[in-house]
């Protein structure tokens, strides 16, 4: 059994009366990239500070390579390094900033110079070595902050929303650099973000956090395809299809009657939570909706086929978002070519096909 490089159990942290972090288990394997994904206010940054030994928890313990670790442990803390949303560069040159952690660890000047030059080359920052940090743009500053942490070759690298302050174009470039560097290095990383696409691009494993608790851990596809709660489904990009009543089960699938009377066949994380007669939410992803002409009757593997009429279309980042009404109200995401070939325009009647595994049913709160 592999010993986690970092493991926490029973972590609790309270600010005043509010429980900000309430995490039973959290572990990072050597070399693994774990993303903590959740909305603002979920407690992710606090969890990060606790794991980085920058803040003392009210309860619980943290193990580094199997040994207990505390905020006072300078030795353990120096095996970790962090990058925050705001780069917090120190007044001085880029090279001086990147050398900071090395100087704090007593690394000799010659070794510092060599390692700083190496770290700058990882992020194409060599031309900036002697530049004052005041002259840097936001993207450049964040790259310097990353170099400053990577040069320390930490056993665990921590990143707190590193792209949150960056422009969209710079964010993409930074994420590519980060992906490349995280894969190239041997150490583990914990990345905190509210951006689901950051999480999916970078993580080996995702921990979804809500209101201080970790509500699901798994690979990116686990979290997306087998979301454990509606919150997770919505947070990872699913949309709510409708609210209906469970009419029965079909093996692992559940049958839900829509308000209009149509029957929906959906998958569910927990069939026992949805007995017949119970209210249910059904979530789907617009990209999983397949449209077909109504004058053609095909048999597909999709268990759901709905009669729909196109209400409106709108461009959506190179694709087309199609709003449909009929048996159920839903949205589809098509390529422009497909919309042209099918003649998708307001008023057109189509069939909408969705596989049962692409629909997720969750218990809904009882109607008042």
């Amino acid at each position: 059994m592999v010993v986690s490089v970092l493991a926490a159990s029973g972590l609790r942290r309270r600010y005043g009366a509010r429980m900000v972090v309430d995490v039973d288990e959290f572990a990072v394997a050597p070399g693994e990239v774990v993303t903590v994904l959740g909305p603002n206010g979920a407690g992710k940054s606090t969890l990060l500070r606790l794991l980085m030994l920058l803040e003392k928890p009210d309860a619980g313990r943290i193990l580094f390579r199997g040994e207990p670790a505390h905020p006072a442990d300078d030795g353990v803390r120096r095996q970790l390094a962090g990058v925050f949303q705001d780069p917090h560069l120190f007044t001085g040159t880029v090279a001086e900033n990147v050398a900071f952690g090395l100087a704090a660890r007593g690394v000799s000047r010659a070794d510092r110079r060599r390692r700083v030059a190496e770290a700058l080359s990882w992020l194409d920052l060599q031309p900036y070595a002697d530049a004052s940090v005041r002259t840097l743009s936001g993207g450049e500053a964040q790259r310097v902050a990353l170099a400053r942490a990577l040069v320390l070759e930490p056993a665990v690298l921590f990143l707190d929303e590193p792209t949150a302050n960056l422009d969209v174009n710079i964010r993409r470039r930074f994420r590519e650099d980060l992906e490349r560097l995280l894969r190239a290095r041997a150490g583990a990383a914990v990345l905190v973000t509210h951006d689901a696409s950051d999480a999916f691009a970078l993580a080996d494993r995702i921990a979804v956090m809500e209101a201080g608790r970790i509500v699901q851990t798994g690979t990116p596809s686990d979290v997306v395809l087998r979301a454990a709660t509606p919150f997770i489904a919505a947070f990872t990009g699913a949309e709510l299809l409708l609210r209906g009543i469970v009419t029965g089960h079909d093996g692992a699938l559940v049958l839900v009657r829509a308000p209009g009377g149509a029957t929906i066949v959906a998958s569910t994380p927990d069939g026992d939570a949805l007995p017949a007669g119970a209210p249910a939410h059904v979530a789907y992803r617009p990209e999983d909706v397949v449209l077909g002409p109504m004058d053609v009757d095909v048999t597909t593997s999709a268990r759901n086929r709905f009669r729909e009429r196109v209400i409106a279309t709108a461009p959506a980042g190179g694709l087309v978002r199609v709003r449909l009404g009929g048996d159920v109200d839903l949205n589809a995401l098509l390529t422009r070519q497909s919309t042209q070939e099918l003649g998708i325009q307001p008023g057109r009647d189509v069939y909408a096909y969705i596989k049962s595994v692409a629909l997720r049913a969750f218990p809904a709160a009882p109607a008042t």
Partner: protein, 241 residues
């Protein structure tokens, strides 16, 4: 209007010919006020930094006290120091009343609140996350604190300049505890009072011009230093690209 023109003309002549009486007063002013500011730094900087960074009960009261110190009347401070150093006071054997030493004591008390107050503001303007970031890179608590103070160094320089500006042109305390003794405790400000009363307007004006010039230079320096400091604020308001 002749009185102004005459005084000005003669004052410039005194300055150009480096009148020894004027230069002596200038030199003493610089020595006393500089020493006073150095002492004010030793007391005011730790207080300013400690109150600026620390979070403890009673902090707000301390901040208010420091700000009240900005408005201390020099003559009242002079009175206090006079009483402190007099033969009936707690240090009868000290005997520094009517010497530059007493003036340094009084002016350091006047300058300390300025040094503390401006350095407090400077340190508060640096985001506390700078310390967090330093620690996240392995710095000890002390080193992290140093990085925080280092980021405020421009503001701290402003604090020292402000302290100097507060005392170089005060007359109340210098007069009270120095006594304006020729060649011993006569600084620019106390000399101006004396020479004006005697009707030596040219002499008084010469020293007044020097004082004005010094105050101008101090304020230009302060303005320069504070605009220098603004880069961080401006940078954080800039849209990141």
């Amino acid at each position: 209007m002749d009185v102004f023109a005459d005084a000005l003309r003669q004052a410039i002549a005194l300055l150009v010919h480096r009148d020894p009486y004027v230069l002596q007063a200038l030199w003493l002013s610089l020595r006393v006020s500089s020493l006073a500011v150095i002492i004010a730094m030793l007391t005011g900087l730790p207080v300013g930094v400690g109150v600026g960074i620390g979070r403890f009960r009673g902090r707000q009261i301390l901040v208010a006290l420091i700000h009240t110190g900005f408005a201390l009347p020099p003559v009242v401070v002079g009175l206090f120091v006079y009483m402190l150093l007099s033969r009936q006071g707690p240090f009868p054997g000290l005997r520094i009343l009517f010497t530059p030493g007493a003036m340094v004591v009084a002016q350091s008390l006047l300058a300390a609140p300025y040094v503390a107050g401006v350095s407090l503001a400077a340190v508060q303007a640096v985001p506390a996350d700078v310390r967090l970031q330093a620690r996240a890179l392995g710095a000890s608590r002390l080193r992290a604190l140093w990085m925080h103070v280092r980021e405020a160094r421009v503001g701290i320089v402003a604090a020292i300049i402000a302290g100097f500006g507060a005392v170089i042109s005060e007359v109340g305390a210098a007069m009270m505890v120095g006594g304006n003794i020729s060649g011993q405790t006569r600084v620019l400000t106390t000399a101006i009072v004396l020479e004006t009363r005697r009707g030596n307007f040219a002499l008084a004006a010469a020293m007044g011009l020097i004082l004005l010039f010094m105050v101008l230079v101090i304020n230009l320096l302060l303005a320069r230093v504070q605009s220098e400091d603004g880069w961080r604020r401006r940078a954080s308001e800039r849209p990141w690209s």
